[in-house]
Each structure stands twice: as structure tokens, then as C-alpha cells.
Amino acid sequence: MSIKRREVLAGSAAVGAVALTSGLAAPAIAQNEPIKIGYLPALTGPSSSTGIGINRGTLMGVEMINASGGVNGRKIELIVRDTQSDPTKAVNAVAELTQRQKVAVIWGPLNSGEALAATPLIARDKVPMLHPCWVDSLINVQKYPMAFRNAPTNQQIGAAANHYVVDVLKLKKVAVISDTTGYGTASVEAYVPMLKAKGAEVVYSGHVDAANPDLKPELLRMRNAGAQAIMPWSVNAGFLSRILNTRGNMEWDVPVVGQTTLGSGQTKALLEKPEYWNKVYSNNFKKVCFGKDGKLPPAAEEFVARLRKEKVEMGDTLLWWIALGWDGSRMMAETFKAAGSKAGDIVGYWNKLKAWPGVYGTITFTPEQHNGFPDDEVVMCEVNSLKDGAFNLAPGYSS
């Protein structure tokens, strides 16, 4: 029997009319529609190393959730827009995700520079947002009531390093140095008063152009001022490696304590000698560090086993980045399951989230506090202990 085009159209129109008048078919379709997550990683460009690491955990999490049947029968659909480490691209992507794609929630941006540009727009479009960026001003319950952070703030990062130098290493004379970027100068301005408040004496404080190839004059100034620890604040591996190389060439046995980039592979590659990485301690996170017994906490150990099983590459990235992506996708899926995918319900659920047990961190939100990461899980690690993307806790911490 042949079917004519006109009969098909007529039949479709009849079905549509029934659906519209009865109101039965529309909810059935909505219940099977995937839940859309707008996802803004920087997968290319100068700040992409973080995004690439977090992306592995995010993808693994979403694939696992969908493979096990999704959330209440609905699949999760990641709408990925690579920001290319460019705030302008992030802003354009936000407009598409919130207004055209109508996503339920936005995961990211994953870098502070893009988040600073994108957050006001996401707030304007009233879409819930979860991000891991450290810049303090990105969370403000009055300005951005739907924005939540599942990572530490810059204040927490600086406080952990200051605590390690002053309270754990018991060093009182500190040199604080940064490059001339906004991040570097803002960090020095924020952390120097915090150090002084802890009773430390800041014997050197300065900003240096990251392109300056010779930092010996600065380190001589620090040494002559009696510095017992150097705290560099920069994400520039070249700048950090020059500090470490100069310290090594001066045979100055002073600890260097600071930002996570101190422990990056790029910094390591630029060292003149491997031993110049000794006595260097960078920020890290307690739940993804090896303890004194040489083991990861059970949740992280189980996670690493899963990564190996799924053949996720760990050697060229950091465990905490992958764990952060995994936690983000899991937290969103659990939220959809418990509260649904409407914006108000998501925000209401997150506002009451208490001690959510992530691999990377234990997250707690309240209506007044959308910074979810606990202070005591921001720690320092020994950078020369890197193995499978994770580090040993620095001396002085208990497991």
C-alpha cells in the first residue's frame, strides 16, 4: 500500500490536535527530554591546562550517569562551548546557552578570567551556576544569588600557605613576590596583611615583570633582608622556575611556599636541576593528597582505580582537576534527581547542601554562603612527590 504525503501530513495534524487539546502528550515528551547542562571549559588557549584536566572528570561523570540510565529516566546532555581561554567567547557562549539552549544549569566557566566576564550575564538570565574559580568576588549572594562555588577562594588559598609558613614551619620572616599580572599583584596585596596579622614579618614584598630573565637581584634582596621563606604568587611557570633556579644557583636553602603552579609539569621542565624542586610546597587539597602512609584517602583511591579502569590519562594532568570535574557532574546529577531541573528548585536544594562528600572536597552551602569548600581541606603538598597527578602532604600535616 502506498502512503501519500498528504495523508501523512493530515495524520500528523490530527495527532498534534489531539495532543494540544488533551494536554497529555506534551508532559510525556518533556519527561523524556535530556536535562541540558551548559558547560564552559577552556579546552584550548593559554589557560587550557586546567580545563583539559577538569574536562576528563566531567565527561567521565556524565557518561557514567547516562550509562546507568540517567536521572529519573532522563539523560544528561552536556552542551559544551570551548571558551578558548577568552572571556569574550565565554560571554557569547553564555548568551547561547541561557537564551537559545535553555540549559537547566551552567557548569563553569572553569577559569576566573572568563568567569568574571560571564557570571553577571548568567545571573541576569537567572540560570543556576556552579563553578570552581578562585577569585573571591565571583561569589556574592546578593549580586549573584544563583552562583555557587565548589572550590576554595583565593583567601582560603593564601590563608593555607600563610598558615603553613607561620604555624607549621614556624618561620616568621617572609618574602612575598609576584609577577605584575592582576592576579599576582592582588594576591600580594591580600596576603601580606594576612601574614602580618598572623605575626609574621614581611621583610620583602615586590612585583616583578614575569619576563625579567634575571631574578638574582630580587633574591639577593630577600636574603639580605633575612627572609626565611619565599612566597611567590604567579601562575607563570617561567617566572616560578626562575625563582627556583636562582635559589638553587645561590645555594640558598630556603623553603618556597605558594601557588599550585609551583608543582606543575611546566615548572618542573624549566628547572636547571631536578633537586631545585626540593623544599618547594604548593597549595593542594587534603582529599586528593598522599598521606604519611603513602596512600590516598579511600574515596580518592577508589576514584583513581576507576580512572585506570576507564583508561583516563592522569600522567599529564593533576588528580584534583579530574576529581573536581567528576564532583561537579555528580553533584549536578544528584541535584536533578532530588530536586528536579527547575532553576528555583536547584538553588533551593544547593542552599541546603550539607557536607556533600566529593572526591575533591566536602561541599557545604547555606543561603548566606555559596563558597562551599572547607578551610581545613586546603593544604600544602611537597611538589617533588608528584605521582599519578597527586602529591604527598607537606611535612607537618597529619593524614
Partner: protein, 285 residues
């Protein structure tokens, strides 16, 4: 402190001087101030690290390939950014065309090579004793370049042709000199000198796409200080800049060192606009 100021100041000054000479070589043959000199320096470091570290080629092979690539980039610069502009009326558009080309190459390097600084290998298989090769090689390269250019310009036919074009291109053309081919050759030569600066300086500066900006600027200072077109002036200006910059690093430190360099630069130009080694030229009115 004095030892560090001398060794480091002279070495980085030699790199600046070579970039200054690169500007000059392109300028004298074409009267075009090509803003690609810093880019050539950056490319010299990146290509050196790529050939020697990544591809595992012997140092000498890597060195020759870097110079060859520099010459090629110089020729492309002349064909793509200078030749079409010189045919037009608005000749000063070369500022835009050469700058745009330099930025395009930098972005290409950033995409293909990466935006993080990467290590540059030790070039000589020797232990650093009382002399450190990262300081000696740029100074040596600068001396050899200046001597080589003197020999080329004063004792070879092609060198004399370069000078003829530089002094009066119309008269040189009237005498039958192939101006366009000589200009292309001078851009190739400049490409080699620029990449030589980056290659020998990369042990200090690392293989980093961001070096383009500092080499473009600090390489221009010797030209302005020494007088446009004067190689000797560029060498004196470059070495003086390196020594002063390093002394300022020690004496005032931090970002104030850069401020001190610019203050002196502006004062010198106010007192001697034609540069330290330049001479005021008469103009028929």
C-alpha cells in the same frame, strides 16, 4: 654584584644589540622600519628548542636550520608586507603590515608551540666554569655579526651594493643595481641575524612566545639610542641598555627597574634626538 651586572648585562645587551641590528639591516636597504625584528628573535628561540629538544637534531644542524628559517621568514616578510606597500602611495602603511605579520606569526607560534615558556637546551657540551655559555654565546654572536657585517659592507661587491641602495636608491637603480633583489636579500640577512639573537639568547630568555614583545621593544631602544641605520650605534646602545637595566635591577629592583630604563631612554632622546652615534642630517628646503 658587579660580576653579575657585567656578565648578565652584557649578555642581554648583546641580544638587544642584535635585534637592533636586525631593525637596521631591514631599514637601510628599504627605508622601511619593519616591526618584525622582535618576532624573529622569538622564533629563533622557539625553533631552536623545537629542532634540538623536540626533534633531537644535533645542535649544529638545529642552528643551521634556525638560520635558514630566519632567512625564509625575512624573504616572506619582504614579499608579503613590504613590497606591496612600497608600490603604493601611503608608504607608511608598512608599520601596520609588518606589525600585523609579526602578530600573526606570534599567534601561530602560540597555537602550535604553546603559551608556556619551555626549556632551551645547553648548546655546548661543556660544564660552566668561570664562564657561563648562556652569557658568552650572545656576546660572541654579537661580535661575529658586527665583524661580519663590516666585512660584507666594506669588502664585498654585494655589500657595496647594499650601501649604495641605502644611500640613494634612485641613483643605485639608475646605475643598474637590482634594488628589489637586494632588498629581498637584506631581509633574508636580517632574518638570520634576528633568529641568531633569539637562538643564542634563549638559554636566558627560554623558548617563549611572549619574548616577542620585550625583544621588539628593548631591541628598538638601541636603534633609537644609537641612531637609525648605525650598526655600531646599535651595539653601543644595546650593551649600554643591558648594563643599565641590570644595574637598575640591583639598585632599585622590581618594576622600578623598567621605569628607570624608560626615564633614561626619554632623557637621552630629548638631549640627542638623532641618537648617541647618529648625526643630524641637512635637508634641502
Amino acid at each position: 654584584m658587579l660580576e653579575s651586572i657585567l656578565s648578565y648585562g652584557l649578555a642581554i645587551g648583546a641580544v638587544y644589540a642584535l635585534i637592533g641590528i636586525t631593525y637596521n639591516v631591514m631599514f637601510t636597504a628599504s627605508r622601511v622600519f619593519s616591526f618584525t625584528a622582535g618576532m624573529l628573535g622569538m622564533v629563533g628561540g622557539v625553533l631552536g628548542a623545537w629542532f634540538i629538544t623536540r626533534l633531537g637534531l644535533p645542535v649544529i644542524v638545529g642552528f643551521v636550520l634556525v638560520l635558514a628559517c630566519g632567512a625564509l621568514i625575512g624573504v616572506v616578510t619582504e614579499i608579503v608586507t613590504v613590497r606591496p606597500v612600497l608600490k603604493g602611495i601611503e608608504q607608511h602603511l608598512y608599520v601596520l603590515s609588518t606589525l600585523a605579520f609579526a602578530l600573526m606569526v606570534q599567534q601561530f607560534v602560540a597555537i602550535e608551540w604553546g603559551t608556556e615558556a619551555q626549556p632551551f637546551p645547553r648548546l655546548l657540551p661543556i660544564e660552566d666554569g668561570w664562564v657561563d655559555q648562556q652569557f658568552v654565546l650572545p656576546i660572541l654572536a654579537c661580535i661575529l655579526t658586527v665583524v661580519g657585517l663590516e666585512v660584507l659592507y666594506r669588502h664585498t661587491l654585494i655589500g657595496r651594493a647594499f650601501r649604495a641602495i641605502a644611500e640613494d636608491s634612485y641613483a643605485a637603480r639608475a646605475l643598474g643595481l637590482p634594488e628589489q633583489r637586494l632588498r629581498t636579500a637584506s631581509f633574508a640577512l636580517a632574518g638570520m641575524i634576528g633568529t641568531l639573537a633569539g637562538f643564542t639568547g634563549a638559554m636566558m630568555l627560554l623558548a617563549y612566545f611572549g619574548n616577542q614583545a620585550i625583544l621588539s621593544f628593548y631591541g628598538f631602544v638601541p636603534v633609537a639610542l644609537g641612531g637609525m641605520g648605525s650598526h655600531r650605534g646599535a651595539v653601543v646602545g644595546g650593551l649600554a641598555l643591558g648594563l643599565f637595566q641590570q644595574a637598575a635591577n640591583f639598585l632599585v629592583g622590581g618594576i622600578f627597574a623598567a621605569v628607570a630604563v624608560f626615564v633614561v631612554f626619554i632623557i637621552v632622546l630629548l638631549l640627542r634626538p638623532e641618537g648617541l652615534a647618529g648625526a643630524a642630517t641637512a635637508r634641502r628646503v
